[in-house]
Symmetry: C2
């Protein structure tokens, strides 16, 4: 058995490019390699929580409250659905990939009346007549909530959300909830301008922290709906509403997780949000252009928006996915596969957070070039 | 703002004795101060998960499967109730404190038919006619599940569970679920001998790890019931049943959290389980005897079983809790208050995990003696 080693050991591979969990930021490792007091007792905890929530709100361009929960990003998704919806409530899920359509299954398991707008997995919102389809579905189903995914990691796409947000407002839909797990901190997401009521995010993607924290922004309308629904469970968001007033958390808070998010947000804010988003855009373009030079196709169709945080590429013809994965691993490059209909056909390079690095992408492209020979 | 410091900084206080999160084990800090790969991709993760689950099963004296979930201990409690119970199901909650009775509220919020046996908060199961009361309640309500708490931290008590387990078997109750959040790894808990179907535990108490992981053991009967209920949510335990067969986790696993639990379990197994339990017993007795010498009363009634992991003592007469807390803090001692009916009257010394240390208790007693002057 490997013994724990201190200080940190390097990643498994010289070229870690999985689509999350990504390489930790050194400041994040510094923040978790500590012995904190009790978050319920020490007067330092709540200010740290509030400060961290405020920094994450900045990354979302929102003035809404931000809640930090202990659990992987799926906690943000389940918590949002269960906190806002009752059985029988109408929900409209907009899917351009595995996660977008997955929200329909989740809401269905809760007994909601789900209308599922499932668009091609290589497309993004705005392609073809997708907006007309969505508008017709909203008019027909009158949903309490629209769900959408910002970055569909399995597809390597980024959905434009401005028009969907405008539509939500124009048609009077109470809630627009957006999965930004794989975009928050790596791509521009404007909750205020795009009328997003709940941004759902996690720690292990662009924030370069371990997969133990979930983040949700909550609009005043969303709080009102949560108060009416009054859902109870581990994933209930409502109990966090009064955390500053009474200092009470629904469970022992994870000081390490909050400190990790704080360090992660600091790193982004110190570099500058626009600079960080530009870095992701540049690296993603370098990745796509490099793949094109090597004759490796990308998954998103022409006209779809490729994600700045992850590139979904086609497994080369004549190779099975396990062969290709091993060929890359033999050259020190660790990539992700994909899910659902893309499984076995698509591989993914995660260039988010710490991995949004031109040098890393260059190394990855060299490994791919060599593996193609 | 404090900048993250590397290596770890010391605890806030020279005498940290809160009832959790406790001081981290150095090997746990070593395990989390690392950059791991993706648990879904690296072949090392699943063996580590399995090895860790096996070690935690040893600490529970069970051959049942053990599941490691990402979230604070409340996740184990909610996950157990929601995974096993449907609205209308009969549940019997045995409470000798805030957490035991809290299970009744949780099950009620789910629409279960709850029978609540609420015993005095300074007593433990077996005191007075409690066993007769419980048996009568089981016969009258025919529950699917009995819940009980092993260590009631707010009361500083440890419930004997052998007779309850015998009764569960004799009366044919399908499930006995025990909250061992504050005892696992610090007190003897024998899931096999006591017929416990689900042991629910967390990381931040006797295991001396951060509050980010939940642990549940699952008996074959519990798996069968979970399959029938087929609950879906972040806290669903069932999806972990096939983790070794298909390698699939319901969400990105928290490698840091699993590694922390592995290091924590190693530390206990290397010291020896009996040695660790004895250390807790000895330290707890030293704490109680020391308090008695100083004229500080303890909360549990004569005849109740005091917990080996935490001592609940009475705030001295003539002092308010905030005054007393501050007097102790002025002397470097950080303790916990209590909850519910004990709030303001009881303070608690957490001597579990790393804090089950005679030297630490001696220092605490000196601080208390000084504060009493």
């Amino acid at each position: 058995m490997r013994k724990p080693v201190f200080p940190p050991t390097p990643k498994y591979a010289p070229i870690p490019m999985v689509a999350g969990p990504v390489t930790l930021h050194p400041a994040v490792i510094g923040a978790i390699a500590k012995d904190y007091g009790s978050g319920q007792i020490e007067p330092d905890f709540l200010p740290l929580y509030k400060e961290t929530a405020g920094k994450l709100a900045k990354l979302m361009y929102t003035d809404d409250d931000v809640v930090l929960m202990t659990g992987e990003g799926m906690l943000a998704l389940w918590g949002t659905l269960k906190s806002c919806l009752k059985p029988g409530d109408a929900v409209l899920t907009v899917g351009t990939g595995v996660f977008g359509d997955g929200m329909a299954d989740m809401a269905e398991s809760m007994g909601c009346k789900v209308t599922k707008v499932s668009l091609p997995y290589d497309s993004t919102i705005g392609n073809g007549d997708s907006l007309e389809t969505i508008e017709a579905a909203i008019r027909a189903s009158r949903p309490v909530m629209i769900t959408a995914v910002h970055c569909e990691t399995p597809s390597g796409t980024l959905n434009p959300l401005g028009e969907l947000g405008e539509m939500k407002k124009r048609l009077g839909v109470p809630l627009l909830c957006v999965d930004a797990v794989a975009s928050l901190g790596g791509a521009y997401i404007d909750a205020r301008a795009w009328n997003i009521d709940i941004v759902m995010a996690g720690s292990q993607k662009c924030l370069s922290a371990p997969p133990s924290m979930s983040i949700v922004s909550v609009s005043p309308t969303a709080w009102d709906i949560m108060k009416r629904v009054n859902y109870q469970g581990y994933d209930a968001i409502l109990p966090f509403r009064t955390i500053y007033a009474d200092g009470r958390c629904p469970y022992t808070p994870n000081w390490h997780g909050v400190a990790a998010l704080n360090a992660a947000a600091d790193a982004i804010l110190e570099e500058g949000m626009e600079e960080v988003f530009t870095r992701h855009d540049v690296v993603a373009r370098e990745c796509r252009e490099g793949l094109a030079r090597l004759g490796v196709g990308i998954f998103p169709r022409p006209g779809a928006v490729s994600a700045p945080t992850v590139t979904a590429a086609m497994v080369p013809e004549g190779r099975t996915w396990p062969e290709w994965r091993q060929a890359l691993r033999d050259r020190g490059l660790i990539v992700s596969g994909s899910f659902g209909p893309m499984a076995g056909k698509v591989f993914r390079l995660g260039h988010m957070g710490m991995q949004a690095d031109s040098g890393l992408v260059r190394q990855a492209l060299e490994a791919i070039e060599d593996a193609l020979r």
